[in-house]
């Protein structure tokens, strides 16, 4: 009897706590500051040019077009980009103010709820839409963003269905996800930090949604907050640590290194390619120098991982000596004889934290498929890394990467040919050319 009561008590407590959490996760009261009468496509014009301009900047900082634009499409914000998640493909939606296919019939409040709380008039959003970051956006920025989005050219384009298997296709499940992983709280400035730092934190955690790629996730896609910004693999790319570890993070980057990288797409230490090149091209290069400096200030303050540099592999190691040969023949013309790279064009290897990270999906992927440096207003070059899939075997690629990770002061674990083999398969990249005996 007592036992039964205790069980019921426990159940009651769980229900109350869960209910409270569910309420907290689903609480959208902060969005009530937004108007709920005028719809996006309504005739009432948005006349505040300054607000529209500020809103355009928020859209750039939040990199909305990165997802809400089909690759190669000139129809901005019309959606159609398939984001490959571990749970299936989620296709971005049309957020132009078109009444039938876009958000033309949404009110500002609908928009606020979708952006900040993942609750659209059509149901709960998947957290592929980073509302768990955008929840930090201020009311002012949201008002401005809404003003801007209403001025976007409406495009009639029906949303493509997601490709998610059971049970992930049940959107209501996201209520549970929100309960577990959604920190539904607005940005709070830290009074003991500078205005610069606070602006940086606001941008990194809010519009910039850096954690979406750079913070490790658990099995359900929730942030592992104890490893905040310490690097994560998404879509086959490893987004390296952008916290303070000197070996694999930004510990050895100056503030100027960080701001310059975000502005131009490169610095003396690294060149952005892959998804980060897109982020630089679409978003960070257009941010003000003050905002980029603020981001640098904040990132430099974030505590890094504990990954310590291991002993580098010996030069006599079989992988190392073979890798050295391969490096001289295939890599040194551009990456230079000491792995220095070439500023603005070719990434450096020596001292590059991303090269030494435990996650090396980006390295294997880049050698297999090639890559392209960010193309920015300040550096339109767009230098490229060719694909070596046709030329180098799985073992060759493993060896040359192992060499690069353990030379010129670098130190990191070896890369195994089997990893390259499985990447070659999952990326559907060709086999090397057969060499006749």
């Amino acid at each position: 009897m007592i036992m039964k009561k205790i069980i019921w008590l426990v159940v009651l407590v769980v229900v109350i706590v869960a209910g409270a959490m569910l309420y907290r996760g689903g609480n959208v009261s902060t969005d009530n500051v937004a108007d709920d009468t005028i719809k996006a496509a309504d005739a009432s014009p948005v006349s505040d040019a300054a607000a529209i301009k500020r809103g355009a900047y928020v859209a750039v900082a939040a990199d909305c077009v990165a997802c809400h634009n089909a690759p190669g499409s000139s129809e901005a914000f019309a959606g159609g980009y398939g984001l490959k998640t571990p749970f299936g493909v989620i296709t971005s939606t049309n957020i132009t103010p078109d009444r039938e296919t876009g958000i033309g019939n949404w009110t500002e409040r609908d928009f606020f709820r979708a952006v900040r709380h993942g609750k659209s008039p059509h149901g709960l959003l998947y957290p592929a839409m980073p509302y768990n970051a955008y929840v930090k956006l201020s009311d002012q920025d949201m008002h401005d963003l809404w003003a801007y989005m209403r001025t976007v050219k409406p495009v009639s384009k029906t949303n493509a269905p997601d490709q998610l298997g059971f049970p992930y296709n049940i959107r209501l499940m996201m209520a549970g996800w929100n309960m577990l992983f959604f920190d539904n709280s607005p940005f709070k400035s830290s009074e003991d930090q500078s205005a610069d730092w606070n602006r940086g934190a606001y941008l990194v955690d809010g519009a910039g949604h850096c954690a979406s790629c750079h913070t490790p996730k658990n099995g359900l896609g929730g942030d592992i907050t104890s490893e905040y910004l310490q690097g994560y693999t998404l879509q086959g790319w490893f987004a390296p640590e952008i916290a303070g570890n000197p070996h694999v993070g930004l510990g050895n980057w100056s503030n100027q290194d960080i701001a310059g990288y975000l502005k131009t797409g490169s610095n003396t230490k690294a060149v952005a390619s892959g998804p980060m090149a897109e982020a630089v091209e679409n978003s960070t290069q257009h941010m003000t120098d003050a905002d980029l400096a603020a981001i640098a200030t904040y990132l430099k303050s974030v505590k890094g991982s504990n990954d310590a540099a291991p002993q580098p592999l010996a030069e006599t190691d079989a992988q190392m000596s073979h890798g050295k040969q391969l490096y001289e023949v295939n890599c040194s013309a551009c990456h230079n004889v000491q792995g220095q790279g070439l500023e603005g064009m070719v990434t450096a290897f020596a001292g590059n934290p991303a090269i030494q990270s435990h996650g090396h999906g980006s390295l294997i992927q880049t050698v297999l498929k090639g890559g392209r440096a960010a193309i920015t207003d300040s550096n339109p070059t767009g230098a490229g890394m060719p694909s070596f899939a046709w030329k180098l075997s799985d073992a060759d690629i493993a060896d040359v990467l192992t060499y690069v990770r353990n030379s010129w002061g670098n130190a990191a674990g070896p890369i195994n040919a089997d990893e390259v083999k499985s990447s070659r398969q999952s990326l559907d990249v060709r086999q090397p050319m057969a060499v006749p005996n």
């Binding site: 013309a333 500023e343 207003d377 490229g384 694909s387 070596f388």
Partner: protein, 591 residues
């Protein structure tokens, strides 16, 4: 016509150096530009990566980057009483193809012409009198001087990232440079490329004869570089894959590397590839172009209306487009009247083959413009009194990279054509065979010209361009003179075997690969009776048509044409922006 594109301010036909530089200038000035390119899009990162670029069979032996004769051939004959036949195989015509045009596959020698080359008529008459010209020779001034063009040469060198040693800065002769060059406003943006054993041997040999050797100005970056458009270039690695190749290291200057990344980002620039322009269309007045007609990759015909038409295709194609468009009066060989097709000429080449006894030339370390030259016998740098010709040649050695396939027949005379002795000789030659190249001036003649072939047509039914050409007496005399000089230098270099070469000794044939620098046919000048274009490369008879390229050269200099094409394009672009746009019409009044 059913298919009409939105009107552009400017339509550019051909996207090599001329078209790309024109597009950059005009879009930066805010004009809405549409460029039509017959080939496909090619960019540095995607199409020329170092991992696949070093393929002699594909790019050199099989000419993978050149306009295939199957797309457009040239018909050729030596004299007007012969029947011209099409060049059905690869020949000395190395026309540009795809974005970047010939600027993508060029070797990289980035020369300025001498001041004399722009005023050959007035200078030679003043110095020697008209008797110096052989019978029928066409010599005329360009209407522009070196000094006028100098700032644009300078701009081109900055955009291309040219490496060299100045010889004359504002009249002050500089050590180690070319003392004969025209005064330049400042030094090259980059120091000259590294020296090699071959250039040392040449420099010593030439110096011992009292000549003035210097490093060839190279469109290869000797160090990391950022050009004025903001494009980064990587230092040359001396891989030796330049001529016929794209450069994936951003080291060889090309429109693809240096200009197009910037232009392609601009909203007021549109590029349509695989667009074969057939002609410019004229308004009823016959003096105003309304745009161009082109055929897209599906074979559909389109009209691209524009206020300004720029022909910036390869030289031969510029002349052909003018003829097909009925712009300007075609040259009539019988009467000597007319201008389009007149003033055509090639390049007179002589030199020497050299075989050393036991050197290690290591020419596999190379670059298309890694070399030394003397200009002691170029242009009018020496006294021609009593020589019976004008002009001359730059005499050079170039370490452009080893070509295991291409150099298989570059062996001393008497070597067997196969077998173990051939192998041994070929191995020996790999380190010991080289050449002195005398890249000569050339002047047109009344008997050589371009016109439309009456019989042979391309796949669209349009007549091919017909070339009627042979060397003239001026060419033959200058070539012999320069051959002797080259042999002298070869001997002074210590070569065991020195064999003079002279392409003008025999009748011209397009299958002699001495030079691919075909020029003229739509020349600029001072008089509409003897030129198609005024000094701004604007058609006298059709002021909203501009033609840019080597087709504008009334005579060839003893150099490669690229930098002059670039400079003239920048000069013309400035005239369009600053003069024509303010007051459309002829920029020069015919006197």
């Amino acid at each position: 016509m059913a298919n009409v594109r939105p009107k552009a301010d400017v339509v550019i036909v051909g996207l090599g150096w001329a078209g790309s530089l024109m597009a950059e200038e005009l879009t930066r000035a805010g004009l809405n530009v549409v460029a039509l390119e017959r080939g496909v899009w090619q960019d540095t990162a995607t199409d020329f990566p170092p991992a696949v670029d070093t393929d002699e069979l594909r790019w050199d032996a099989r000419r993978g980057n050149l306009l295939p004769p199957s797309v457009t051939a040239v018909t050729f004959r030596n004299t007007s009483d012969e029947k011209a036949l099409p060049t059905r195989d690869w020949s000395c015509f190395e026309f540009g193809w795809n974005t970047g045009g010939a600027g993508m596959h060029w070797a990289g020698m980035a020369w300025r012409f001498t001041p004399f080359d722009f005023t050959p008529y007035s200078t030679a008459v003043k110095r020697y009198g008209k008797k110096q010209f052989v019978d029928g020779l066409i010599v005329q001034d360009w209407g522009i001087t070196y000094d006028e063009l100098e700032p644009f040469y300078d701009r081109f060198e900055r955009i291309a990232g040219v490496s060299g040693t100045a010889g004359n800065i504002k009249g002050q002769i500089q050590p180690k440079g070319n003392p004969f060059e025209g005064p330049r406003s400042r030094d090259y943006p980059l120091k000259a490329l590294e020296r090699t054993l071959l250039t040392d041997l040449f420099d010593q040999g030439a110096s011992s004869l009292g000549y003035h050797p210097f490093a060839i100005p190279a469109g290869h970056t000797s160090a990391a570089y950022v050009n004025p458009l903001g494009v980064h270039m990587g230092p040359c690695t001396y891989c030796g894959y330049c001529l016929y190749y794209g450069c994936g290291n951003w080291s060889k200057a090309s429109p693809n590397a240096c200009v197009l990344p910037v232009v392609m980002k601009r909203d007021n620039f549109t590029l349509i590839t695989q667009a074969t322009v057939q002609r410019a269309n004229l308004a009823e007045d016959g003096k105003t172009a309304t745009g161009v007609t082109y055929i897209d990759e599906k074979g559909t015909q389109w009209e691209q209306p524009a206020d300004i038409v720029v022909f910036s295709a390869f030289q031969m194609q510029n002349v052909r487009l003018l003829l097909l468009s009925k712009i300007g009066k075609p040259y009539n060989h019988a009467t000597g009247e007319g201008v389009v097709g007149r003033g055509y000429c090639f390049q007179t080449v002589s030199g020497a083959d050299l075989h050393f006894e036991n050197e290690n030339l290591n020419q596999f370390i190379g670059a298309g413009a890694l070399g030394s030259q003397i200009d002691d016998f170029n242009g009018d740098n020496y006294d021609h009194t009593g020589l019976g010709f004008i002009g001359g040649a730059g005499l050079l050695v170039v370490q452009r990279g080893a070509r295991p396939i291409g150099d298989g027949d570059h062996l001393p005379p008497g070597t067997p054509r196969w077998g173990s002795q051939w192998k041994a000789a070929w191995q020996h030659a790999f380190q010991n065979a080289t050449f002195i190249f005398g890249q000569g001036t050339s002047y047109s003649h009344k008997d050589v010209y371009l016109d439309l072939d009456p019989e042979y047509k391309d796949s669209w039914g349009q007549p091919l361009i017909r070339m009627t050409f042979d060397y003239n007496e001026n060419d033959r005399r200058s070539a012999q003179y320069l051959e002797d000089k080259a042999v002298g230098i070869g001997k002074a270099m210590g070569a065991k075997v020195v064999i003079g070469t002279n392409s003008a000794k025999a009748k011209f044939t397009p299958y002699d690969f001495a030079s691919d620098h075909t020029i003229g046919g739509a020349v600029m000048g001072e008089d509409p009776k003897t030129s198609v274009l005024n000094k701004y490369q604007q058609v006298w008879d059709c002021p909203n048509v501009f033609v840019s390229g080597a087709s504008s050269f009334p005579n060839n200099a003893g150099y490669n044409p690229t930098a002059t094409i670039g400079a003239l394009t920048l000069w013309t672009a400035k005239a369009i922006i600053e003069q024509y746009m303010k007051s459309p019409g002829p920029l020069v009044q015919a006197s």
